[in-house]
């Protein structure tokens, strides 16, 4: 939310959004699991122009000791953005207030589904790095983290994901892009447990009537089911196309994909 009212573009016209999508269209999403060698589990998500990498470690000894719980594994989560991830100026390395808040709400979503009682006195660490951001990074981050946790074999009640909805020119729309984020009238990211429909992450700003909120939640829920299909496909691919070597390959129009070069 924000943006100068004078610069505000028309966000919805002739049934199309600023990037040509319909109100219930998601951006292009690609998910690849198992892309890192050291992490116990990992996943890479491209969501619109967002490029997000998630890595998971654990269960491992909980350090420092005073964080330990005798009854469950302590879940730790760090959401972080690369200094070069935004479209604007060079950011600073390290956590800021926004990334600390997102780390917390993402962690709390996973605390609901990870069966942490199975591993008392340990910790499970979730790290998400935003390599490139384009609106909706927290949803893509949570979605990537869920796949990384499944890749690591951490037991969970469900494979969760998150999608945001927005209100643009009076209409509820799914998965806001950056301009819709900046100039829309409301932004509402939601994480679902697809099996039960339970909401595990909920944030919202702007102004919505009760009907608009209900409509938004329904749009998000339908989109969440589609995202889950992509998460499942990514995990299935680990087994249908097994690879001994793990590489992160980032697709960008015009970029050359990695070649095997060995100077010897």
């Amino acid at each position: 939310m924000g943006g100068n009212a004078a610069d505000k573009p028309k966000l919805f016209e002739n049934g199309k959004r600023i990037d040509g999508r319909k109100l219930d269209d998601l951006r292009d999403v690609k998910i690849v699991a198992r892309v890192l060698n050291d992490a116990d589990g990992s996943a890479y998500v491209e969501w619109g122009k967002n490029k997000i990498l998630a890595g998971v470690y654990g269960p491992s000894e909980c350090i420092p000791r005073h964080d330990q719980s005798l009854y469950r594994s302590v879940i730790k989560c760090r959401y972080n953005m690369a200094p070069f991830s935004g479209a604007e100026e060079h950011g600073r390395s390290g956590p800021n207030r926004r990334s600390k808040e997102l780390s917390k709400v993402i962690r709390e979503a996973f605390e609901n589904v990870i069966i942490s009682e199975n591993f008392p006195k340990t910790q499970i660490e979730i790290f998400v790095e935003v390599l490139q951001s384009d609106g909706g990074t927290r949803c893509a981050a949570l979605t990537a983290a869920a796949v990384a946790l499944a890749d690591a074999g951490i037991p969970m009640k469900d494979l969760i994901n998150a999608v945001a909805v927005c209100k643009i020119d009076g209409k509820m729309a799914v998965d806001p892009g950056k301009e819709e984020d900046n100039f829309g009238e409301s932004d509402m990211p939601i994480a679902f447990s697809p099996r039960t429909g339970d909401i595990l992450l909920f944030q919202m700003d702007g102004l919505l009537t009760r009907e608009e909120l209900a409509e938004g939640v329904k749009l998000a829920k339908d989109a969440s089911a589609k995202i889950r299909g992509m998460q499942v496909a990514a995990i299935q691919q680990v087994y249908s196309e097994p690879r001994e070597e793990r590489f992160l390959i980032i697709r960008t129009p015009g970029a050359e994909a990695g070649e095997r070069n060995s100077p010897g």
Partner: protein, 258 residues
């Protein structure tokens, strides 16, 4: 040196004594090297470099900055490195460790000494210069992060676009050609244990070795050097390695894309 490292040292020493390395490489052989140019579109330049299982991303962003008081017409070049916790169970969250700082400064030194970027061309007006920020993101650690980082940074520079500047401000998303880069800098890092020296140490080798020597080269000069670790190098070894790093550096240079 702590005892677990001593154990690994003995194992590594035994292998090296037979002229062998853990992964069957020869002493002057790199693992598989892979470079992706411009994987990202938000930064002004970006690249990914992979050596063996180590994976590194470099991103470059321009900003407007005030110059250093003692060099008022010179642009700013700043390099930083993040050893991300997802890259290795050995990395923790928190402020940059001495390892991260050393890595960034070594990569920076190579680029700066070789003067492949003309910092004087970054002058805009009194009190305003362009600042070029190179950020190295270590994504996966299996040893020799310095060479992988230097490759990623160099490729990011080669692929970097110059942003358009209007009225003393950068117009994001608009570019005026590419960043002019004169030459290509790469680093070659050697590990040493006893009197055995080996190129491109893997993480296993790093855990056992006594010290490392990194030499940055252009096609004609050696432009930066850094010894790390507690062991010692002889004069003879240093001279031999400076010659070898020119040769091996050229092989790495050949992999960079314009």
């Amino acid at each position: 040196m702590d005892t677990i490292n001593e154990i690994k040292r003995d194992t590594l020493a035994a292998l090296l004594a037979k002229g062998l390395r853990g992964d069957s490489r020869s002493m002057d052989e790199y693992r598989a090297v892979r470079i992706q140019a411009s994987p990202l579109s938000n930064p002004d330049g970006s690249a990914m470099a992979t050596i063996g299982r180590s994976q590194v991303m470099a991103g470059i962003k321009f900003d407007i900055a005030t110059p250093f008081p003692d060099r008022p017409t010179e642009g700013v070049l700043s390099t930083s490195a993040d050893l991300l916790p997802l890259a290795s169970h050995l990395f923790e969250t928190g402020p940059p460790s001495e390892e991260a700082i050393e890595l960034a400064r070594v990569v920076d030194r190579g680029v700066r000494s070789a003067a492949i970027i003309d910092l004087n061309s970054f002058f805009l007006e009194e009190g305003k210069v362009m600042a070029l920020y190179i950020d190295i993101f270590i994504l996966d650690h299996d040893g020799n992060l310095i060479d992988a980082s230097a490759l990623a940074a160099m490729q990011a520079l080669l692929s970097c676009r110059m942003p358009k500047v209007e009225g003393g401000k950068i117009v994001r998303g608009e570019f005026v050609g590419k960043l002019p880069v004169k030459g290509k800098v790469v680093t070659c890092t050697f590990g040493k244990l006893g009197d055995r020296i080996f190129l491109d140490p893997s993480l296993d080798e790093e855990k056992g070795m006594d010290c490392r020597l990194t030499l940055a080269t252009t096609s004609s000069h050696i432009c930066a050097g850094q010894k790390g670790g507690w062991g010692a190098i002889s004069e003879r070894e240093l001279l031999d390695l400076s010659e070898l790093s020119m040769k091996k550096g050229n092989e790495l240079r050949a992999l960079l894309k314009e």
